[in-house]
């Protein structure tokens, strides 16, 4: 039991140290870098919002278009950043593996946590900046929104646990990542809601954990203006499966990993 708590303590120390290192480099020396995490979704939401306002009108299916775009784009940015930064993460951080208490899984966890913090700050920043102007409503069910966002983060984390070791096994992963994220946008719930789709297509859409969690986020934000379809167990089960596969892969890859 004491060995277990000792191990846990060491792991917490490592994750903290890695987080602090990452945050100081981003906050301290590349101020603009971290600012961009917040500014980019804002810029995107406003520009696409303006474009769509002219093309389709200021509202889409009864909710404000700028709020709708922003609520989809922040999670998408988080997902894209997490995925692309998980590739080759073992080799990039290889020199840290000289310290035995640092595990390869810590790299993935810390990377996704940092992006998640960035995404959360983007939410707050946009909610504040656009909320004052009346473009973003006060969340109807904040608990639901937070739960959806946390589950979204869990799914992204579990996928990264698979992507990171796979990218070490084959370079193809890194090459096809951007295009596959792009192709997956229609089934990510980023710019659509399940209720807009015909019932036959909706069943397929709801197999995607991204769609389920986006529905939760949107329901939390817009409340009863939208008609949400979701099953909490879908993202939980999907991420449990990915996480298990990912841990097995990480273990395998670690065994053959060449550390300079």
């Amino acid at each position: 039991m004491s060995a277990l708590s000792e191990g846990w303590g060491a792991q917490v120390r490592v994750v903290k140290a890695l987080m602090l290192r990452e945050l100081t480099t981003r906050f301290g020396r590349e101020n603009i870098g971290f600012l961009w995490i917040m500014a980019e979704p804002l810029l995107f939401a406003v520009l696409v919002g303006i474009m769509w306002t002219y093309l389709k009108g200021p509202e889409e299916h009864g909710v404000g278009i700028i709020a709708f775009v922003a609520s989809g784009y922040i999670p998408l940015t988080f997902l894209r950043q997490s995925f692309s930064r998980s590739t080759s993460i073992f080799v990039v951080n290889g020199s840290l593996l000289y310290h035995r208490q640092v595990k390869v899984t810590d790299f993935i966890l810390v990377r996704v946590l940092i992006e998640f913090i960035g995404g959360t700050m983007a939410w707050l920043f946009i909610a504040f900046a656009l909320g004052i102007l009346g473009y973003i409503p006060v969340p109807a069910y904040p608990g639901m929104m937070v739960a959806g966002w946390l589950l979204y983060g869990l799914v992204v984390l579990s996928v990264c646990f698979v992507l990171a070791p796979l990218s070490e096994m084959s370079e193809i992963i890194e090459k096809i990542m951007p295009v596959s994220v792009y192709i997956a946008i229609p089934i990510s719930g980023t710019f659509t809601m399940a209720s807009w789709a015909p019932p036959s297509a909706r069943d397929y859409l709801l197999m995607s954990p991204m769609v389920n969690t986006m529905e939760m986020i949107r329901y939390g934000l817009f409340g009863d203006y939208v008609e949400p379809y979701y099953n909490v167990w879908n993202p939980i089960l999907v991420s449990a499966v990915f996480m298990m596969i990912g841990l097995v892969l990480c273990r395998r890859v670690r065994r053959d990993l060449v550390v300079e």
């Binding site: 602090l20 000289y98 670690r254 053959d256 550390v259």
Partner: protein, 215 residues
């Protein structure tokens, strides 16, 4: 006590593979000073990295019953883009040491001064060696794994290492890969020769060095 039990390591190289360590068995305890000898490519660095837990063996295992430093060598252990101080701070955090104490010791031991504010990638190998030794000595391990790097230091650094490792910490274990026969003759009580993926352990240093000469 640190024990290597039938360690094997195979590197993948393109479509083939290279067996570097075949069946390495050895053990050493606190107070032992082990000199690791072998030709270039015999697997000295590989063995050090496996003992240090940096890379995993393909077969066999390492049992560590005392705390063991990371392999102190020309590369690894530091993040090149971070400064010496940042690296020290990071290492203090993951080894649960007080940063102020650690910094004090490192400043005094390394004598790097303002250079500690520069990214580690700008350091010469001698400067890296100073930083690596300073940090690992401040953490106080039971066993130090040293890969060649002790040789790159200047006279002043050699003297410091002599005081800090061989005098103040004479009760610790030392596992040292080097080609410096005199170094081994002066400090080691055990010699290990690596060849054909096997480790041969000698109590008699002169005998080991004589064999090493003929390799």
């Amino acid at each position: 006590m640190i024990t290597c039990e039938s360690l094997g390591k195979t590197y993948r190289a393109g479509h083939g593979s290279k067996r570097v360590l075949d069946n390495v068995n050895l053990s050493f305890k606190r107070g032992d000073r082990v000199g690791l000898l072998g030709r270039n490519g015999a697997g000295k660095t590989t063995l050090l990295k496996i003992i240090g837990g940096v890379i995993m063996p393909t077969s066999g295992r390492v049992v560590r019953e005392m705390s063991c430093s990371w392999p102190l060598g020309f590369s690894g252990g530091f993040q090149g883009s971070l400064t010496g101080y940042d690296n020290a701070r990071f290492i203090a955090r993951i080894y649960d040491r007080d940063y102020k104490d650690l910094r004090g010791f490192v400043e005094e031991f390394t004598e790097l001064g303002q250079q500690l504010r520069m990214p580690v990638k700008t350091y010469s190998s001698g400067m890296r060696a100073r930083l690596a030794f300073g940090l690992s000595l401040a953490i106080e391990f039971d066993c130090y794994l040293i890969d060649e790097v002790i040789m790159v230091g200047d006279r002043n650094f050699q003297l410091k290492c002599h005081t800090e490792i061989f005098e103040k910490r004479h009760d610790r274990a030392l596992f040292l890969a080097t080609h410096g026969a005199n170094y081994i003759r002066e400090y080691c009580n055990l010699a290990v020769i690596l060849r054909h993926g096997h480790a041969e352990v000698y109590d008699d240093i002169e005998e080991a060095l004589a064999i090493y000469e003929t390799l």
